[in-house]
């Protein structure tokens, strides 16, 4: 069963004093979209964050996710690809609902560091980044900036109304809160079913 925070809209609000803006902090598995002047903040290890906005209206958002392990048959239809596509679609659908035009979307991507060492997870970051790059290429959404891979965690702050993103490299530590949250998220994904409900009306 998925944790209640997975596939959810982020709810941890705070004051981003450095920008003098309301802020929201995204945990692994969450996403957030806004039309307001806000700071969207997350800390990434091996996970990736896609920051997407409508260049004209400024409505924009961010997600924070990683692909589950494994594959079942055709790579394009495997669990990781279907889950990643779903995570991206939640973000993009929310953007469209809030008035974004798909043709004006631009993306910035971050994360995918080689951070979860010692868990046979050295390829986790690379897989996540490869997926996101492939997704945006297929969807025809241009990537205007990226800071991915390498071997350090990152704190990312995204301002959708301007499109600016600020990245701070963090010291690698296996004991901090962000690392624990990502490991817990990965563990939850292992047992997660990638398939939604079906209801026939006849």
């Amino acid at each position: 069963m998925a944790n209640k925070s997975d596939d959810s809209i982020a709810t941890y609000f705070f004051q981003a004093k450095e920008f003098n803006l309301d802020g929201v902090r995204l945990l692994p598995g969450e996403y957030f979209v806004t039309q307001k002047k806000m700071a969207l903040v997350t800390v990434l290890g091996s996970c990736v964050a896609a920051c997407v906005r409508d260049k004209f209206t400024g409505v924009g958002g961010m997600n924070h996710f990683m692909l589950p392990e494994g594959g079942d048959g055709d790579e394009r239809l495997g669990r990781p690809a279907r889950f990643g596509t779903y995570a991206m679609e939640l973000l993009i659908n929310q953007l469209l609902r809030m008035g974004a035009d798909r043709r004006r979307l631009e993306a910035k991507i971050f994360g995918g560091g080689r951070v979860l060492e010692g868990m046979a997870q050295t390829q986790v970051g690379e897989r996540n980044v490869a997926f996101v790059l492939g997704y945006f290429a297929l969807e025809g959404i241009p990537i205007s900036a990226q800071d991915v891979l390498d071997d350090y965690p990152r704190k990312v702050c995204y301002l959708p109304h301007t499109g600016q993103a600020f990245v701070k490299k963090l010291r690698l530590s296996g004991r901090d809160e962000a690392d624990s949250a990502e490991r817990a998220y990965l563990a939850r994904l292992r047992g997660r079913k990638v398939g939604g409900d079906v209801e026939l009306f006849v």
Binding site: D74, R76, L77, A81, R82, F83, T85, Y86, M88, E89, L90, I92, N93, L96, R97, D101, R102, R103, Y135, L138, E139, G140, K193, V194, G195, G196, D197, V198, E199, L200, F201, V202
Partner: protein, 121 residues
């Protein structure tokens, strides 16, 4: 002769996944990029099944279902929604619009084929 399916979704990734799944089971698949494109393609022929997303530019899935139900060739044809929308409210709207069923993403290929076979009889 293989049955024909119209797959409507604004995401290229999803269209490819759905097409791959359906073609692997022998169905003939035509893709449309949104409701308006789907309606135009549906008018030109009589598909055995329409599978559509909800949130799309220009025309959403529910509007497409309503428009199709107004056409003689789609009065009784199965129309399935495949969407991230999972609320009871949206499902009720789908039912009222004339949808045959509601599949919540992420889709599971074997489950999708099972439902498609069921509604196609």
């Amino acid at each position: 002769m293989s049955k024909s399916i119209l797959a409507v979704d604004d995401s290229t990734t999803i269209r490819q996944m759905v097409s791959l799944t359906l073609k692997s089971a022998g169905y003939e698949v035509t893709e449309a990029v949104d409701g308006q494109d789907g309606l135009a393609k549906a008018k030109g022929r009589s598909f055995n099944l329409v599978l559509t997303d909800q949130n799309m530019p220009r025309m959403d899935g529910l509007s497409l279902v309503k428009s199709l139900r107004g056409l003689p060739e789609y009065k009784t044809a199965p129309i399935l929604m495949l969407t991230t929308e999972s609320s009871d409210e949206m499902k009720s709207k789908g039912r009222a619009a004339g949808a045959t069923g509601w599949l919540v993403k992420p889709f599971d290929p074997p489950r999708l084929l099972e439902v498609v076979r069921k509604v196609l009889g």
